[in-house]
Subunit: 207 residues, 2 copies
Amino acid sequence: MSRKTQEPAITSVTDLPVEEAKWVTLKKISYVDQVGKPRTWEAASRKTRGKAGVDAVAMGNVLLHPSRPASTMVVIQYRPPLDAYTVEWPAGLIDEDETAEEAAVREFKEETGYDCKVVSVSPPQAADPGLSSANMQLVMVEVRLGEGDEEPEQRLEDGEHIQRVVVPLSEFYDRLVEYSKQERMIVAAKLFHFAAGMHFAKTAGYV
Amino acid sequence: MSRKTQEPAITSVTDLPVEEAKWVTLKKISYVDQVGKPRTWEAASRKTRGKAGVDAVAMGNVLLHPSRPASTMVVIQYRPPLDAYTVEWPAGLIDEDETAEEAAVREFKEETGYDCKVVSVSPPQAADPGLSSANMQLVMVEVRLGEGDEEPEQRLEDGEHIQRVVVPLSEFYDRLVEYSKQERMIVAAKLFHFAAGMHFAKTAGYV
């Protein structure tokens, strides 16, 4: 499905009482700091963390094709918190009884249609440590394509409208910079940082 | 100041009513999606965004010394939302009337003690797009050191306890993996992704 069916539009934004929130909550943390002084901190948390102890996975992916350059698939979707289309790697919340690896394979199939092989699983990382308790793991996956393979169907849930874009790894950073210039588009920080790290390693003289 | 003065400890965590929150808030967003269907989304937001339209900056930094390997400085601090020490690049909120570049130079000086030269400023990036409206810019900075330069004093605000660690860029990724194995420590996702991108560019055969 094209994301151009109709432009999503926000109709209202209201304060959300914490007792009504299902997915996210707001906490006041009281703590004693390094010098024994009592302090407080305001933090957001997800309410959906399961047994894995980690909220989410993102799938850093490489598509390998016999006659095309090594590429990665990014997904573009409307994200209400930003009222914009975001460019991200496929990602999703880990279900109650899943491991990070299981969630990665399941979510990658849902969002991209592809079966993937897990190459590595990162340690848990803090998504936005000054603001929230949210954490995630970066799961690197590989998809090996045959010469004539057709693009598989996505298996999206109701309400998910996710556009897939294949980007050659050699153009990765430049393409994210280009996306950032487009109206109503923003690149996710984790994705941008990974590509910026690749770019830095290739271009900075002293690495 | 050593972070070992005393271990910070949480004394209580309570629901924070949105009307009492000063820094963060919770919003219910009503919107119409791509197929015209009304939907809602729960999101956290910062309440401190100024004229720059961007919440925060992080300083990807390179320290250049005549006789030592090119390095980067990371900061380790206790983060109440995670009840853990995080490893991050120096970062901070952009003040009301500041540009991203000004905030980067000011915050870098406060947290590290060093004057830096701004090398590049990224487009705005979405910090955690499924959860919050928070955004940030990655500002790459350079510090040129002389042979006998002493480490300058930090200029921390009351309550800030930030440990500086210099990591050679050639060891960057491995050191973050090592930090992740330590008790009560977690690496920030943006920093980890940048280092993982460097590692990927250097080690993946097909880039």
